[in-house]
Subunit: 250 residues, 4 copies
Amino acid sequence: MYSHCRTGGWILGNTIDGTQAEYVRTPHADTSLYHLPPDADEEALVMLSDILPTAFECGVLNGKVQPGDTVAIVGAGPIGLAALLTAQFYGPVAILMIDVDANRLRVAEQFGATALVDSSGGTAVDQVMALTSGAGVDVAIEAVGLPATFDICQSILAAGGRLANIGVHGTPVQLHLEKLWDRNVAITTRLVDTAAIPMLLRLVQSGKLQPAKLVTHRFALGDIMNAYDTFSNAAKERALKVILTNAKPQ
Amino acid sequence: MYSHCRTGGWILGNTIDGTQAEYVRTPHADTSLYHLPPDADEEALVMLSDILPTAFECGVLNGKVQPGDTVAIVGAGPIGLAALLTAQFYGPVAILMIDVDANRLRVAEQFGATALVDSSGGTAVDQVMALTSGAGVDVAIEAVGLPATFDICQSILAAGGRLANIGVHGTPVQLHLEKLWDRNVAITTRLVDTAAIPMLLRLVQSGKLQPAKLVTHRFALGDIMNAYDTFSNAAKERALKVILTNAKPQ
Amino acid sequence: MYSHCRTGGWILGNTIDGTQAEYVRTPHADTSLYHLPPDADEEALVMLSDILPTAFECGVLNGKVQPGDTVAIVGAGPIGLAALLTAQFYGPVAILMIDVDANRLRVAEQFGATALVDSSGGTAVDQVMALTSGAGVDVAIEAVGLPATFDICQSILAAGGRLANIGVHGTPVQLHLEKLWDRNVAITTRLVDTAAIPMLLRLVQSGKLQPAKLVTHRFALGDIMNAYDTFSNAAKERALKVILTNAKPQ
Amino acid sequence: MYSHCRTGGWILGNTIDGTQAEYVRTPHADTSLYHLPPDADEEALVMLSDILPTAFECGVLNGKVQPGDTVAIVGAGPIGLAALLTAQFYGPVAILMIDVDANRLRVAEQFGATALVDSSGGTAVDQVMALTSGAGVDVAIEAVGLPATFDICQSILAAGGRLANIGVHGTPVQLHLEKLWDRNVAITTRLVDTAAIPMLLRLVQSGKLQPAKLVTHRFALGDIMNAYDTFSNAAKERALKVILTNAKPQ
């Protein structure tokens, strides 16, 4: 559980400054860095530093996605899409993508979602129950971090279901134990350990995982404020992940 | 997941009358009954019909108790005590028993609790954190079914901890995801499947599990109203489990 | 572990006659049969009665295939090909198919093998070690049942590897514990439990598993001796699985 | 799988000299050493450097000992006895100890074995089958490293059984796949990873594990040749583990 190492854990961008710089001194580098393969697509591997292990470990592994499962992912942002990409390694028969943004749902379809649920009208739960013939889903992955999205997840769990929370929550949520106490469900949280990076790296190198398609924008490091502006308007800009390069600003 | 069989599951005492009768017709008997060993202590095995598998499956198995773990059990009633008995099969180094009733805590000590926490003053969380040097517990087993006891459980979880809910809840609880989202915890619910009965039976037959000590009172079937009165005042009567016999009422 | 039920287990074709008849009385039918979905492809589902659960449970599940794994399957007959189809549900980066028959290897390639190893020259081990840069494979699935093929499997295991035996063996094999004692490997055997049938059924119904492509020949029940002749010359006839129909013999 | 680290793994006493010296330089010390608790019994913790994690990881964990299991351990030397001590953390109902030496079997009884099997007459398998009513054992732990003792293990496995090899083998063994192919068994090997040391340390500190009783002799470092003589005649000297101290030779 590297994320909770007593010396180590989440340091960069948390207890010290992050890595948006030309040079970075990495604490515990001897035991926390991976070598890039010589022929690697570096942009693709930037996605392996955080977003893909987060989605995979906190969402897919904690959700125990199995062949034949029905999976719902709430939130079609970059993390939700990374969960969508990596959930497919376990052979689910259906992946329902739930979001309020029609653009993001279209991207999800291209990334492999088998059904799209527009939650802007407040009927997401009904739609999911209809799509699953009233049974609910085996795995619900929360990739937003709001009480409303957590609520959808707990309302669509089949008996024996797993709710894997990825979202960063700022407030408590109401847990409906009066409905769930006898439903054999599991609800998990996790700060990414990044223990899955070597596995993900093999999948990228083999071509079976293509994280580069999460990259929609590129900015020079000197142009970083524009990058933040774009990312702040992600829905309007249709931005997923933004790469900073060491090219000169344009 | 027998508890959620589409035909079967929890029938007796739920969708049809229970078994407080001289003769009972059991649905799906061919595939849901176990033969009593010839030399069995029948009273001990009554405990195997519900309370022990419930505590073991929903509490100990779902809580993934491991050798070296620190376990807290909230609620020293019969279910909590059954969890206490069966948690010891996995070699935890500490089992903290939490209850508001001093009598029940004394019983818990006799059953193997390594520390007793009187929660009547509202300081249970502080006591547990002090007993664990601030780390919290690896496993918290909820054996009451109230928001306040669930609250204790979620407040004492160590990073990587498991909260195994056994209690039957009638209202929602507040889940502090704003504190737990990055703590790598799992919260589970379960209706007993009774799949553990054969394993528990072997443990009883070997003498390693002695559920008969949960039996504190016996009543003839014709005396059942007195039995209910006693059970209704369990704390005062120091009642754990009550056996109904087919002896004539006294 | 249904395969070892004390009443039940493997009966048809083992302790009583099998099902090559127009009508069959099935022992324990209430708890051992699955309903066909109304719109099912019945030929595809014949493959779910034995060959697919055998390959999946004894090979893929016992071999614990994981995303990113390198898998070798020794034997490209119907069972080995069924292992090949179902191993892909777990996202391995490479599946090496090993056989002496070039035709079968070509079929394996169409079914998703990423590398083909012709073992007719006795150099299979060297080829696998070269293909894996000397590391060996994470999972070796034995789908033949001979000492020589078991030998290949034990010789190509990486540290931490799993050897999942499916083959029916008639003689002992030599196990090289003098090489394997410190290699953290697991060797498993299993008689199919068919517990995976519901999962496989969902995968077939979703279109993600297409077992019908294992069917190469069809015969009327009255033509069964010709069917056996064909199956006896499987390599020459390029036969995988043979379907018996209730059509009149041609 | 620390035992197979590409830099690291088993170095001391393997690829470089071991630690029978007053001062030792330990490779990778930053990430491979544990701090002694201030109040620790140092002799007890010497047992945690190798013998206890070996017996626990390779025998008990790989054997997946579960509550209610019947376990057989072949070899009542120090490693077998350490497996006996640590298997008890998982609540087995029976632990059968098998050895040719009556003295060692008596020690095993004191350490918690529930049945003793003298294998000197070649009837160990028959005795175990009689003790288990013909069913065999759930877990067989091989703690010797000879074909004959491995043979006992593979002959006493129940359906679904696990054979966990600890012994260091110098020659191949014959594996009876013609009997085992349909028995749903697992055979495992492992070089100790020592990943269990923190767990074992908690168990020692709590008093639930008492490895000091494995220590039968003490010698000063300068007296080491006598220590080796004693250990070479372990059966006659009734020696289990020998401690070297930095006291002056007597």
